[in-house]
Amino acid sequence: MKYVDEFRDGTLACGLARAIAAEVRPSRDYHLMEFCGGHTHAVSRYGIQDLLPPNVRLIHGPGCPVCVLPIGRIDSAIALAQEHDVILCTYGDVLRVPASERRSLLQAKAAGADVRMVYSSLDALRIAQETPDREVVFFAIGFETTTPPTAAAVRQAKALGLKNFTAFCNHVLTPAAIRGILDSTAPEGTGRAKGARLDGIIGPSHVSTVIGSRPYEFVAEQYQRPVVIAGFEPLDVMQSILMLIRQINAGRAEVENEFTRAVNRDGNHKAQTLVAEVFDLRPAFEWRGLGVIPYSALCINAAYGDFDTERRFPIPYRAVADHKGCECGAILRGVKKPQDCRLFGTACIPENPVGSCMVSSEGACAAHYTYGRYRDYRDAGPTRKAVND
């Protein structure tokens, strides 16, 4: 595929690996967080950690949309489908996220609720047009990439005068989550860190096509950490790691952009305008693992209130603790690795996830289960048993 295969070239990857090895200073460590779940997936799938010197550590971040959705929100969606008899449409990964008592939307569907998987918000809109006698709810989740498509659907619903379509908005904001993560880290040497140590951030690809690189500038200015916005493919990630290492070595903290073929400083103005037309900021929103973060999510504004599920149906929100033993929260903050969870690969596998990080291929646990766990065996050596053997 054009613009994909060229960015996966093995020879060039080796070249980049050597360039990184040549720049890395043996006297220090480099802790780099890839924020986005797509990067987590690429890092695991292409074994990028194996191409890096041992003192360059990649830490998985919270940028996997289904991973950060708290249990209470899925409970609300299940209640909508079961108690209000709506047609609940949502993206595929959402169906398997464990909610209270390990129930999921998929189970609700099996028990008779009308839950439908859609590929796009447009599909939900079409279902609403085709079934005018039923209420259709689009359970909208995701970061700034999926937000404009939801806004477009809501605006179109209004234009079409649909009376039976609403969106249950759970869209969240990347910069707020990065701030949440950075606030959980303490400066080096203070010994107070409850979060991960972070020397730099690999910035999201597709979120940045929408919001541009400007919204990350506070990371450099207020937190003195470098950010490099990276394309999706393995060579992009390697090049971005090299750019971060150069910044760290030079004592710089700037926002740089490796993904110039799709991202600029201002982002997609048309998409931003549409989002601003339909949504307002929520004063507070609960994230799985990160807790309540102020102004970190969106809700539908008054002008489009007729298309807001939360105004049409009474859906009380109840915060619910994660499954005991599930380490998703710590993993999403970058403090723990999937291998640190005692349920990993035993009680919790992608076919039967206990926590949200095992659901989507972008989740840290699922990515590590699919691609990385063999390395645990190898690293454990012939005499020691691998983690969770």
Binding site: R18, C64, T209
Partner: protein
């Protein structure tokens, strides 16, 4: 679900829609979020919508940068890991 892929716009349709081609597969997508897309352009497709246009010149430049880096290390006679 955050996965997004570069696709080629094959044909523009009414209502800000278009037919795109990816690895021989054809699909109808929405161009409602991007202005000025023309046939033959590459866009990044995500949940049925084009998120942005892909800049072919910038793509070439990035690839050239990778190659240059690899060559420079060869010239320096860097030991391969």
């Amino acid at each position: 679900m955050c996965l997004a892929v570069p696709v080629r716009v094959e044909r523009l349709l009414d209502n800000e829609m278009a037919v795109v081609e990816m690895d021989g597969l054809r699909k109808e997508i929405s161009l409602a979020l991007v202005d000025g897309v023309r046939e033959g352009d590459y866009v990044i497709l995500h949940v049925g919508y084009a998120l942005t246009r892909l800049d072919p010149e910038e793509a070439e430049r990035t690839l050239a940068l990778f190659a240059e880096l690899a060559n420079r290390l060869d010239d320096l006679g860097e030991v391969r890991p």
